[in-house]
């Protein structure tokens, strides 16, 4: 059974008078435990689609189902609670809060839960353990390398134990070695903890980590075989 079901989604942007159609009747099933890479030319609407899946943007028409929940019918507040409970975010530019330490950044999503301080601490340390950064708790983002910042961001995405990790070009700003580390981490999380991962990427090398590859072009989706590329 699919975890996320995207049905006939339309989305366009208005730029003044002009209407820019981006997604035109896109449908996609994402299975539970899948690691899906979304590729396509720049401007094809990959980020737009990912944002819809993550519940931070709304479609013009169509449905997006998470199990039995139709995201397109949720209010802003319900959507915020849904995101907090089910989605972990990983961004190209890490997007850590600069005035908070690594520890505090990871703790952030837990502040919306009922967990007590001690419990939160346990969860934060566990998440930072997964990304091997327990020795950087009190470092500020500016005191960490790009790769380390992205690992803190992954810990932040993990800490609330979401079903889905969404990553928009998570390696786009990293050197090869750090990018490799991040991809290895995502694969491990997918394999060992069964998290569903949806990753937008430009990098064919990064896409190799995924178990399923989808191509978005001219507003339409094509499934591509990961090995043959056909």
């Amino acid at each position: 059974m699919s975890l996320i079901r995207i049905e006939n989604i339309y989305k366009s942007y208005r730029r003044g008078e002009e209407v820019v159609p981006v997604l035109q009747g896109v449908s996609l099933d994402i299975g539970e435990g899948e690691f899906l890479a979304l590729m396509g030319p720049s401007g094809s609407g990959k980020s737009t689609l990912l944002n819809l899946v993550a519940g931070i943007d709304t479609a013009d028409s169509g449905r997006i189902l998470h199990r039995a929940v139709d995201l397109t019918r949720l209010s802003q507040g319900e959507l915020a609670r849904w995101r907090a409970a089910h989605v972990g975010f990983i961004f190209q530019f890490y997007n850590l809060i600069p005035v908070l330490t690594a520890f505090e950044n990871v703790e952030l999503p837990l502040l919306l839960t009922r967990l007590a301080r001690r419990e939160r601490r346990k969860h934060v340390l566990a998440a930072l353990g997964v990304v091997s950064l327990t020795d950087r708790l009190s470092h500020y983002p500016s005191q960490l390398s790009g790769g380390q910042q992205q690992r803190v961001a992954i810990a932040r995405a993990l800490v609330g134990d979401p079903d889905i990790l969404v990553a928009d070009e998570p390696t786009g700003d990293l050197d090869r070695k750090s990018a490799g580390d991040v991809l290895t981490l995502l694969s491990r999380l997918n394999l060992e903890t069964g998290k569903t991962v949806v990753m937008v990427t430009h990098d064919p090398k990064a896409a190799e980590s995924a178990r399923r590859l989808v191509h978005l072009e001219k507003g339409e989706l094509l499934d591509v075989h990961p090995e043959t590329g056909l």
């Binding site: 915020a80 809060i97 908070l100 919306l112």
Partner: protein, 385 residues
């Protein structure tokens, strides 16, 4: 609490920008406090006025005198307790620069009429016994280093000649609104001399200060006094001491009004500056706000965060400005002591400063907080910092 930590860290993230804004608010609140204090100082005479005192003067103008014989008739009006004649003497001590107010008054009733002039009982008795004696305010005595027993030569301007007075008493004010820079001496002494040198000008006073039994009586007593002298050679105008004092101030009302407006303008300007700074800061952090919201934080949280930051900056500046108002007012008072007898920061000035500070903080945060909550998350995330 977590949000407080965020608020404080965010507030001083751009240290130089935050300090400039804090400095701006400090100066604005300080300027406001000083200007308000100038306005208060202007009305200090009226504020010091007693509700149980009336002033009776010649109805044509203060320049024209009243016969001293009116005293007994005024005293006869029902509700009147005390009457003291007074004349502006206008004497000069050594040099015109040494200006201070000096009056010839009927001390025997003037002193009981003005209980806020506080005397040592022995000095007061000595003053009343010595017709050539005078009383000086504490600050006046300090200014010229006068002590009880000193001789003070005054050169008459309105009343020609050289007048020698002996300091018999130094008074203090019972409250900060009392002018401690006056000199008072016996009208009798003035009048004796006038009888000898200019008999036509003798037996006149500039005005009468009239004590009444209760403030409620002011209108009817005033009317009664003025009716007594209607159709006489010198008709009178009686009003409350406050109205009388405000009459002096009225001439410069427009200037003081302008000062008051400027004091609020200064605050309005800093409000605009703070709002601009806050808007700039918020614009830079749109992406960060979008991250908070993506994680599930509501727009209310963002609003509080922005408001808190704005209030922290405004309060740092506002409290510093209010605090500095005191030493600044003291310095100002010292520099202007010859012209402004009473220059004290009023408690309500502090409250207004605090209220305006909060208003600056709120106003600066309002729009950015609204915008941060409204902008779409996906949209905000595109605004890479």
């Amino acid at each position: 609490m977590f949000i407080l930590k965020l608020v404080f860290k965010n507030a001083f993230r751009h240290r130089s920008r935050a300090l400039m804004t804090v400095g701006g608010v400090t100066l604005a609140v300080l300027a406001f406090g000083l200007l308000q204090t100038v306005v208060h100082a202007w009305y200090a005479g009226a504020a010091a006025a007693s509700a149980t005192r009336l002033a009776t003067r010649n109805s044509i103008s203060l320049v024209f005198p009243l016969p001293v014989s009116y005293r007994e008739k005024i005293k006869a009006a029902p509700g009147v307790t005390l009457v003291a004649g007074a004349a502006w003497f206008g004497g000069v001590y050594v040099d015109e620069k040494n200006f201070f107010p000096n009056f010839a008054v009927q001390l025997d009733s003037y002193l009981p009429l003005f209980p806020e002039f506080v005397f040592d009982p022995d000095e007061r008795d000595a003053l009343l016994r010595d017709r050539g004696g005078c009383a000086v305010g504490r600050k006046l005595a300090e200014r010229f280093g006068w002590k009880v027993g000193d001789r003070i030569p005054l050169r008459g301007t309105i009343y020609p000649g050289n007048w020698d007075l002996v300091v018999r008493a130094v008074y203090r004010g019972a409250n900060p609104n009392v002018d401690e820079r006056q000199l008072l001496f016996h009208w009798d002494y003035l009048n004796e001399t006038m009888r000898k040198t200019a008999p036509r000008r003798a037996d006149n006073v500039g005005l009468f200060m009239v004590g009444i039994a209760s403030p409620d009586l002011a209108p009817e007593v005033s009317r009664a006094i003025d009716e007594t002298f209607a159709n006489s050679l010198a008709e009178t105008l009686t009003e409350t001491e406050k109205a009388f004092a405000l009459g002096f101030v009225a001439m410069s009302d427009a200037i003081i009004g302008a000062v008051r407006i400027v004091s609020y303008l200064v605050v309005a300007i800093i409000m605009a500056v703070a709002a601009n700074t806050m808007a700039m800061t918020a614009r830079e952090r749109l992406c960060e706000y979008a991250v908070f919201r993506a994680l599930g934080f509501g727009s209310g949280f963002l609003g509080l965060m922005i408001l808190g930051e704005s209030l922290v900056i405004a309060l740092c500046g506002g409290l510093a400005g209010a605090w500095l108002t005191f030493p600044a007012a003291r310095a100002f008072a010292a520099a202007m002591s010859d012209f402004i007898p009473v220059f004290n920061v009023a408690p309500e000035t502090l409250w207004i400063q605090l209220a305006l500070t909060l208003a600056v903080g709120l106003a600066a945060a309002a729009l950015p907080a609204l915008r941060a909550g409204r902008i779409g998350i996906a949209e905000g995330l595109r605004r890479i910092a």
